[in-house]
Amino acid sequence: MKKSKSNLWIYYGLTMIGIVLFAIGGAGLKLNWFESIKAVPGILIGIGAGSLGFGLGEIIKQKTISNHPETKKKIEIAQTDERNLTILSKSKTKAFDTMGYVYPVVMFICILLNVEFTIVLLLVSAYILIYAVQIYYFNKYQKEM
């Protein structure tokens, strides 16, 4: 109970930060505060709206759950249920494998469309990074298990 209360403050904070960022972004857009970098208001509005929505959603969810202890227990069980975790893990594996096929196709299309070299390089490095992460965790779990 104590843990969930302290968690709630994080979401209140996130909501407040969201409102502030959203307001600064909106005002900046209207009053031309960020003339040198035009993308700033858009980014601020985006991050602000995201954290506002996430924070508010979590607050509403936790408030609703706290009034229904049985639902809260059911959600907790569903989150820790070993079959659910296995299903989640399996579906993530499938999604990762799919990404392994989709990413090269996207890179190939980018090359065919004569997209700027730095963007292709960025895509390739992201692809390599993801596989590096996989190799890292593969070795880590080999040692741990």
């Binding site: 069980i77 569903a78 820790t80 249920d81 070993e82 079959r83 659910n84 296995t86």
Partner: protein, 91 residues
């Protein structure tokens, strides 16, 4: 009394059977039967074991094999051994 032909055929059968590699293994279980004997519902068993009702359903249908921890929890709850509930068979 077995005839020499019977013994020969039996021997040949065992040689033939041994020549096949193990094709696989599967796990059956008597969970549904034991649960009904105790007179509890899937929902109640799920609450006791801290899993979802769907997990109990999948276990009973044989669609999902439990972790060794869950198998122990189930066995302890019914006061039985794991082998009493889960049956390992090789094909």
């Amino acid at each position: 009394m077995e005839s020499l032909l019977d013994i020969f055929i039996l021997q040949q059968y065992h040689i033939w059977k041994a020549s096949f590699p193990l094709r696989g293994a599967y796990l059956k279980n008597r969970l549904e039967e034991i649960r009904k004997e105790k007179g509890i519902t899937q929902e109640e068993l799920a609450d006791i074991l801290q899993v979802t009702r769907q997990t109990i359903g999948s276990l009973e249908n044989g669609r999902y094999n439990p972790s060794i921890t869950l198998a122990f929890k189930i066995a302890r709850f019914f006061n039985k051994t794991i082998e009493d509930i889960f049956i390992y068979e090789e094909i």
